[in-house]
């Protein structure tokens, strides 16, 4: 057997195998290290039930649990929102806090308008200001309907003043 030739072949084999192993380990390690760059963010849509459960015309208050995820730790918070369904199936979701100073307003059945107990701000069913100190219409939560489930994003977007 030609020893010198054998030696060179083994060296080459070790080099190739070693490079292969390092490539696999290295790319796995690099991926792990850089994974914050590619991690998908949880947008925070909350499923609050079937969309056709809301009777058109009358706003209803819904309660839901909002989950905020910070890597592996999840915090839960009870929240609520006002949902108004229209005849054409469109749904508007309001932030339950008055835009004036943050009090929880409610729906006045007799007068058919939202009323804030703190400073008598009043809003129409579509959120527009009727009277009182509110600087703008009711704030809204973004919402969408998927497979007849109502999904909301419980972060306020400002209503029109």
């Amino acid at each position: 057997m030609n020893d010198a030739h054998d030696d060179g072949l083994i060296r080459k084999a070790i080099g190739v195998l070693g490079a292969l192993i390092m490539a696999v380990l290295g790319s796995a390690g690099l991926g792990f290290l850089l994974s914050p760059l590619v991690q998908k963010r949880d947008e925070g849509w909350v499923d609050v039930g079937p969309a056709d459960a809301f009777k058109p015309g009358t706003p209803v208050q819904i309660q839901f649990v909002e989950r905020t995820r910070d890597s592996w730790s999840v915090t839960e918070k009870r929240s609520s929102a006002w949902v108004l369904a229209l005849d054409n199936g469109q749904i508007t979701v309001f932030d339950p806090r008055c835009p004036h100073l943050g009090c929880p307003f409610r729906w006045n059945i007799l007068d058919k308008r939202f009323q804030c107990p703190c400073h008598t701000a009043a809003f129409a069913a579509d959120g527009a200001v009727i009277s009182g100190p509110s600087p703008r219409a009711l704030d809204r939560f973004e919402s969408k309907i998927e497979d007849n489930r109502l999904l909301i994003l419980p972060r306020p977007t400002q209503g029109h003043s």
Partner: protein
């Protein structure tokens, strides 16, 4: 470049000592027994690297340990692979060092003048077992919890000092948050530091003394094959 490095660092001498040193000429299956030490070293390096990565996304508290391990497996890129490497590497490590230990024992390679190499090696074997014991708790799932309960209860069986040993291991009378942080500190700080130190000593001694020849049968008259 090579010349410059050679003259400034003397790496050539180190390279020669590490990789070009004379080793016994063993042929056939016996030769494979000589890879066990290097294989253990390689797996140790893999464990060290994957361990550093895992520690970046692991929280050693009862509230978060299990969830953070799941986070690594489900959310982190290549997290399942890195965790898998660490998991199987740990098992393989124990197998490798046990085989390495057996090879040295049955070949009588621990004898003069290599007693110090043997002693550091036995200490390293114990450290590896320490790694497996402390690492097993960290996922903080049912298997981990009860395995550690059994392990610490075995320690408690020792006469007189047993209960104290168990309490020191557990960081209290009951297993809990203190047990987890204790095991974590041992697993990622104490044991790696000691292991790195002992590996350095062990490797130095291996190179210093050279490696033993495979044992040959003594000629004893009956089986005399001398010409």
């Amino acid at each position: 470049m090579r010349e410059w490095l050679k003259s400034r660092t003397g790496f050539e001498a180190i390279w020669k000592a590490l990789f070009e040193r004379a080793i016994p000429e063993a042929k056939g299956p016996v030769a494979w027994l000589y890879v066990l030490g290097s294989a253990s070293l390689f797996v140790f390096i893999v464990q060290f690297t994957t361990g550093c990565l895992l520690a970046m996304s692991y929280a050693p508290t009862p509230d978060h340990a299990y969830d953070s391990v799941r986070f690594i497996s489900d959310q982190v890129l290549a997290g399942r692979l890195v965790r898998g490497l660490h998991h199987w590497g740990a098992t393989f490590m124990v197998v490798l060092v046990a085989l390495h230990f057996s090879r040295v024992y049955f070949m009588g390679a621990y004898k003069f003048p290599r007693e110090a190499t043997w002693i550091t090696g036995v200490c390293l074997l114990l450290l590896v077992l320490g790694f497996s014991f402390t690492g097993y708790l960290l996922p903080w799932d049912q298997k981990a919890y009860w395995a550690t309960a059994v392990g610490t209860n075995i320690a408690a069986q020792a006469p007189v000092i047993g209960p104290s040993v168990a309490a020191v291991l557990k960081g209290g009378e009951e297993m809990g948050a203190a047990t987890l942080t204790r095991f974590y500190a041992f697993h990622v700080l104490v044991l790696p530091a000691l292991t790195a130190l002992l590996i350095a000593c062990h490797l130095f001694l291996v190179i210093w003394h050279g490696i033993t020849e495979p044992p040959a049968r003594e000629e004893d008259g009956a089986g005399d094959r001398r010409l």
